[in-house]
């Protein structure tokens, strides 16, 4: 473990370890992890370990706990919002894995985590949420592939329900009953891994394959609340990135790819998606996203792109720009996921793979600045689509052969 950076007196671990607040903070979380292992010893649950066969790398969390991040044989836990609204997000991630020769399992047998339903309408309940979680984890465990969670909301939800499952015996037994009805049992992953943490640990391999010059691209980063504020102990920090004070993913990837990072005053603010806000308080979400995030970002940094790592954040930050621009406000910045940005940098097709045309805020200046001939690419895309219409099989991104099954 590295020592805190010499420049800072800051030792977040001391603050975190002194935080004696209720559930979700560091001490509680570490207690949960201990109990999780106890339960495994007693045979009350099965832990899906981050085995050496997954070729893990170690990172550190908020409290300087060591967290193992698997790098191969990943079970793609997809995001309903991405597949539905930001398809380029998930295809960019798959494309990167195929490029790097990283084997993965793209399972058709995955359900939505239902977290949006839970947060948005409150119509789910802890038992249902936990059962869905464990069911997915069981499938991954059976396939001997480690779950990689694509969505920040899923990740946040899974952190919550894992905590509940471990700490609450009654809940666990009720979930077990449900799972046994479908021939499964309780499997809990040893670590909950968000895909942006994976991108963070393999960023040097992304940089090796970089095709574009990003030295003039100014990036601003927004980290998702579900990733680093909820159950704050769990996410990846790195003393070499932002002095270890803010989450390392996204920023580390942008830096590795040679881009510049710009800071802004409201970095800590939610994007506006909130929990149920995007559904029930849309006016507030839209206004908040614009006035508290987009406007200050543009005014303070004139950034070329805003990168984030969650389905909800991409959606909110991107789509919320429509109405204010119609009102006559001028500030706008394109919004992409770190996966799409990295894929573009590695030469992925902006429309066939990264599908940036689904994004609303104007991305044309960004592509131009990245040295991509958007018009040419667009024509290639149109041709591709026409060919598919005429019966050509679309290119599927397939997993490289698994090292072991």
């Amino acid at each position: 473990m590295t020592e805190p950076s010499a420049s800072g007196l800051f030792d977040r671990a001391k603050f975190a370890s002194n935080a004696r607040l209720t559930a979700g903070t560091t001490e509680e979380y570490l207690r949960m992890l201990e109990r999780m292992r106890e339960l495994e010893k007693r045979g009350e649950l099965c832990l899906h370990h981050v085995k050496d066969t997954y070729q893990p790398t170690t990172v550190r969390t908020l409290s300087r706990r060591e967290k193992r991040i698997p790098t191969v044989d990943l079970w793609q836990h997809k995001s309903c919002g991405q597949c539905g609204h930001i398809p380029g997000y998930v295809t960019a991630l798959y494309w990167i894995m195929a490029e790097l020769g990283v084997p993965f399992v793209d399972d058709t047998n995955q359900t939505s985590c239902t977290a949006w339903n839970y947060y948005g309408s409150g119509t789910s309940n802890p038992v249902a949420l936990s059962a869905v979680f464990v069911r997915n984890m069981h499938v991954a465990w059976q396939k001997d592939a480690y779950p990689l969670i694509h969505c920040g909301t899923s990740y946040g939800d899974y952190k919550e329900v894992r905590y509940l499952l471990v700490m609450n015996d009654e809940l666990r037994e009720r979930v077990r009953t449900i799972l046994q009805k479908i021939g499964r049992d309780i499997v809990i992953p040893e670590e909950l891994v968000h895909y942006s943490e994976w991108l963070h640990v393999i960023r040097d391999r992304l940089a090796e394959r970089r095709k574009l010059d990003l030295s003039k691209i100014k990036v601003v980063v927004h980290s998702a609340c579900h990733c680093y504020k909820m159950m704050s102990e769990d996410f990846t920090y790195d003393d070499a990135i932002l002095d270890g004070l803010r989450p390392a993913p996204i920023t580390s990837v942008a830096l590795a790819l040679g881009a510049q990072i710009a800071d802004y005053s409201n970095w800590y603010d939610c994007c506006g998606f909130g929990f149920r806000h995007i559904l029930t308080e849309r006016e507030m979400s839209r206004s908040f996203a614009y006035f508290r995030k987009i406007q200050p970002i543009v005014r303070e940094t004139q950034a070329d792109v805003l990168l984030t790592h969650d389905t909800g954040c991409v959606t909110t930050l991107d789509k919320s720009q429509v109405v204010p621009l119609a009102h006559g406000y001028k500030e706008t910045v394109p919004v992409l996921s770190d996966a799409q940005f990295a894929a573009l940098a590695m030469g992925a097709h902006p429309f066939i793979v990264c599908q940036v045309h689904w994004h609303v805020a104007d991305w044309r200046p960004l592509l131009q600045k990245m040295g991509i001939d958007a018009e040419k690419a667009w024509n290639e895309y149109r041709e591709y689509v026409e060919n598919v219409k005429r019966g050509m099989k679309p290119n599927f991104i397939r997993s490289p052969p698994r090292t072991h099954a």
């Binding site: 308080e281 006016e283 908040f288 429509v322 109405v323 204010p324 009102h327």
Partner: protein, 152 residues
């Protein structure tokens, strides 16, 4: 507490937490087009931020110069004045302690909202009797009214 007659086309009526949002922050366009898409009405509604971005003591100094306002800066917001005030008992928007704070810090938007209520002061003087810091809130109410009127 019901406000004036509610108009059927009251803006922002679809906002779920509508009662917490100040009318003047709601920008609901009658007609708005976003690149060919009709976002009139609720679809184009923006709620403007309410963040206070500066502390400005100009108005406080104006009030200090008016008769009765000299000691406005003594106030430490204990609330004795509002507790004793007969107008405050009936009218939730009349709050001498609050007015003094808003004027001292120069919160323009909030002042705009409450300035009409300042004139409801009955000048009974109960606040001045009870004030532990001898601010003379009754005097300050009059001074605020004058200073605000002059500034317009």
């Amino acid at each position: 507490m019901a406000d004036a007659k509610q108009k059927p086309e009251e803006k922002g009526r679809f906002i779920v937490e509508r009662q917490y949002v100040d009318d003047r922050r709601i920008n609901e366009p009658k007609k708005l087009d976003a690149g060919g898409m009709d976002v009139s009405g609720r679809w184009g509604l923006l709620i403007e931020p309410r963040t206070i971005t500066s502390f400005d003591h100009t108005l406080m100094r104006d009030v200090q110069r008016e008769a009765g306002g000299k000691f406005i800066h003594r106030c430490f917001q204990c609330g004795n004045c509002t507790a004793a005030c007969p107008t405050a008992e009936e009218h939730p928007e009349f709050n001498p302690r609050y007015f003094i704070h808003v004027v001292r810090m120069g919160y323009q938007a909030e002042l705009e909202r409450v300035r009409q209520y300042v004139y409801l002061c009955a000048s009974c003087g109960r606040c001045t009797e009870t004030c532990p810091r001898e601010v003379d809130p009754a005097g300050v109410m009059a001074a605020i009214g004058t200073a605000v009127r002059k500034a317009r």
